[in-house]
Symmetry: C2
Subunit: 399 residues, 2 copies
């Protein structure tokens, strides 16, 4: 015999972003590539007080095993937040704590997907989710999008055409990678279709609270009387990612399956991290912290878009997000953003993420994703300027 | 359409132990059921100093995303420990940080198993591992064991008979559930066979350092020139389980697959937890802590075995472990330990884990597992006494 891996590993890929991030760790690189929060906003001093309080008050319990579903005060705080911010009506028992929302994505694949089953997603969609699902060997049906997100007529067509759709994966708020948000009417239409076809929906919502202008949109979960929506949330973007805490909220018949996954995957999330995040919410003001984040990211978003208006050549388009972390750039057909990154942009010590991996069935090489949360103001301007030069040359060469 | 789960979910089971633990959380229950460390030994005051030091020294980095493979100083400390304690020769680059060793078990299934592939394991074996593997729908071939662990003639027979064995899962040190340890000669014979057939081995070693008498056995990993052994380690039993930190150590061609799994599963382990455990090892004396654990568990082991000698009726056998957390009880054929637990033992406010789930192909209902690490001395004596009464009655009824 010889070492033989499972068939799924032939297609399993490391994340292009994680590999790229290694390249961009040189301090001179102006990186718009990651999805990293601004570390200068992390409440370090507060978390020190929190850590001491948790160990003082329940040190032994904090260091011991705990339940798979998660620490109840944390689940209560999450439910409360979902209800207040996203118009939901959920309670602690409908919440399972996961290691970031990435773990929820893996569980979706594990619970629903046999080989060749269909996942419907937006085109483009989040590559970390696509990679997680790919390990379970599905087929992807991409639904075209416009500036208001997924196009509902196309969704309904796809549902009529395919009968083994296991779930629909969407990011209706400040989508990764496009930065687009679905208006309320589109959300309503989506839920109508979903209820008609009785298809489970994975609503990935890491950025919903990070709206710089206007009101937070009601989540799909808040419009879900039939219990088809599986909500994925995370503390990574509203507090910090280093504790790796996220959650799933779903109807009991679904949540019990994810609970079984969690047992097999790692028994439970970190007891002490859960207690610490719950304690932070109790001792400090998470809302005020989110406001501070929004202020900084909003200003960086504005500056980046202004700089792109100024430095990017004609023929380059990009989205104008009202929140979240990303804008999505479309180049003229014929320019390969991946090639451009390698040949021209990285040598200028600038980085973005090329768009092709966000399309599960490939193609669409003329896009890239820009992050505005992680670089300070002066580097945003300088980076966009250098990028503008690269794009101007690329378009010239095209002609 | 209607909600349809993946085929694997039909067989996926919640852990019988985790469900049982809920029943045994009433304070009056004397529980020998879990595998919980003694919380009174957790270094709570030390971890408070550690948490403050980590946030003081590198607070922003501790709260940010970090690399998938894990925090380098922690991987260095782990490699150093494996080399010093278990006679290995590994370095930081051969280590991937996981969420407890349970996550490594899930990754083994994901990387190796297509439906109907074969996993070879000891009979009995750890049910948490079996459940993790079951999600990938393998078949199990159980190799009979004696008091020195897996019987090598039976292993070779199985390897001759089956040609789609993907890996062999073993716990050579203070096995869960049996408490048995493989002598050095058996380890050598095992590695000979493994090298001959070129089959990957998962060596699960959560308890190896917890040896109360004699010398720690060299790990299989230390006898592995061909890079077939995947070592799974954890801080759960030598420090505490609440931080959910474990690791895999394997040859590069294998480790890269597990790294891809980790990206899809949850991107990375908690940054701050990794820094804290590394800092604990730097600031305090983990060896001294392990000595303290061994002293307490060793005394409890001795007391439990003495009590079992005193109170258990003739016809009941049990193992006499030199370390670890468990002893394994064999009842006369015809007594169902699961039924007995429900009908007689739990009503006496005592708990153990019935043995059948430790056999992946079922059967063997006349066994149960006893844990001695988590109950204080007086409750061990009282619990064993009550259990002795239950067993005496059960044997009487059998006649």
């Amino acid at each position: 015999m010889a070492i033989k891996f499972a068939e799924r590993m032939a297609k399993a890929e490391g994340s292009a972003i994680r590999e790229l991030l290694k390249l961009t760790q040189r301090p001179e690189v102006i990186s718009f590539a990651g999805g990293l929060p601004a570390p200068e906003l992390f409440p370090v001093e507060e978390m020190k007080k929190v850590a001491v309080a948790v160990l003082d008050e329940q040190g032994q319990a904090a260091m011991q095993y705990s339940t798979t579903e998660g620490y109840k005060p944390l689940r209560e705080a999450i439910a409360d937040r979902m209800n207040k911010k996203l118009y939901c009506d959920v309670d602690a028992d409908s919440i399972l704590i996961t290691n970031g929302s990435q773990q929820g994505l893996d569980f979706l694949g594990k619970v629903f997907l046999d080989k060749d089953d269909i996942v419907i997603c937006e085109s483009p969609s989040y590559l970390g989710a696509l990679n997680a699902f790919k390990a379970y060997q599905p087929k992807f049906v991409e639904i075209p999008t416009d500036n208001d997100g997924m196009i509902m007529e196309e969704l309904e067509k796809a549902l009529q055409e395919h009968d083994n759709v296991k779930f629909i994966y969407v990011i209706p708020d400040f989508q990764n990678p496009s930065g687009r948000t679905w208006p309320i009417e589109r959300r309503k239409k989506f839920m109508e279709i979903v209820n008609k076809y009785q298809i489970p929906v994975a609503e990935d919502n890491p950025y919903g609270e990070l709206r710089f202008e206007g009101e937070i949109s009601p989540s799909l979960k808040s419009m879900d009387p039939e219990g088809l929506v599986i909500f994925l949330g995370t503390f990574s973007k509203i507090l910090c990612p280093g504790y790796r805490l996220g959650w799933m909220s779903a109807a009991p018949k679904l949540l019990e399956k994810f609970n079984i996954c969690k047992q097999g995957a790692d028994l439970q999330a970190s007891t002490i991290s859960q207690m610490e995040v719950a304690k932070f919410i109790e001792m400090f003001d998470l809302d005020a912290h989110v406001e501070a984040i929004k202020k900084v990211y909003g200003a960086r978003r504005t500056l980046m878009l202004e700089s792109m208006d100024k430095y990017f050549p004609e023929g380059v388009e990009f989205t104008r997000p009202d929140g979240g972390l990303f804008t999505w750039v479309t180049l003229p057909e014929g320019i390969d953003a991946g090639q451009l990154l390698k040949d021209v942009v990285l040598p200028k010590d600038v980085a973005y993420v090329a768009g092709e991996p966000f399309y599960p069935n490939g193609g669409n090489a003329n896009h890239f994703r820009m992050n505005y949360s992680n670089m300070p103001e002066d580097r945003i301007v300088e980076g966009v300027k250098r990028l503008g030069e690269a794009l101007t040359d690329a378009i010239k060469n095209l002609k």
